[in-house]
């Protein structure tokens, strides 16, 4: 187990308004499911903080052991696991996603909407 990595992942999950652990980045998505989750979040106007899990297999191991969720992507709103691509898509379609976002981030959450990418790896 990589304690440092685990801590950094946990910090992203707990402190970012909306975190998306995905394969690739929003500008270069490497997997259809990550794309589906990203599009659903964008559609709801979510301020997405993306983490690419591909650079090191340990990221995915530590993430799944933290969240208890076996697959990628994984979406969190303020520390709470919302789900993978299927759930996020379903919540986006029925309006629940926007409700969760305004409950957690405030009704004007769209005003802050910007996408960014963070790394959980230590710079070499």
């Amino acid at each position: 187990m990589n304690e440092d990595l685990r801590e950094r992942i946990k910090t992203v999950i707990d402190t970012e308004p909306v975190s998306l652990f995905m394969k690739g980045t929003p500008t270069f998505v490497m997997c259809g499911n990550s794309e589906r989750a990203l599009q659903a979040l964008r559609g709801a106007g979510a301020p997405v903080t993306a983490v690419d899990i591909l650079p090191d297999p340990e990221i995915r191991q530590e993430l799944s052991s933290l969240s208890g969720w076996p697959t990628i992507p994984q979406v969190f709103i303020k520390g709470e696991l919302i789900g993978g691509a299927d759930i996020v898509q379903e919540l986006a379609a029925n309006g629940e996603l926007e409700r969760k976002l305004s409950d957690a981030l405030g009704e004007d959450y769209r005003g802050a909407a910007e996408e960014r990418v963070v790394s959980v790896l230590v710079p070499a």
């Binding site: 208890g68 969720w69 697959t71 789900g83």
Partner: protein, 90 residues
């Protein structure tokens, strides 16, 4: 005649039927025909009152082995409880 598709989906159906013996609906589709991209649909009373995250966790638990050994490369999940909550009293 068993097609490639049913040969691939049957083991998953067996696992899901064990986990959700009283399912109202239980389907496994081979999305691409390649035997490793699946779409699972389950409606079960076990999901009543659970969040979607917890519902999907039960499906992941039922399919733990094929997920771990690489049989399932990609999995789409659609779950629902069977109790009617919308517009009703529960």
């Amino acid at each position: 005649m068993a097609t490639m598709g049913t040969m691939a989906t049957e083991p998953l159906e067996i696992l899901l039927k064990e986990a959700f013996p009283d399912a109202d609906e239980l389907r496994v589709e081979d999305r691409t025909g390649g035997g490793d991209h699946f779409h699972v649909t389950v409606a079960s009373p076990r999901f009543d009152g659970l969040s979607l995250v917890d519902q999907h966790r039960l499906v992941y638990a039922a399919l733990e082995r094929p997920l771990a050994d690489g049989t399932i490369h990609e999995l789409r999940i659609k779950t629902r409880g069977v109790r009617r909550t919308k517009g009703g009293t529960t």
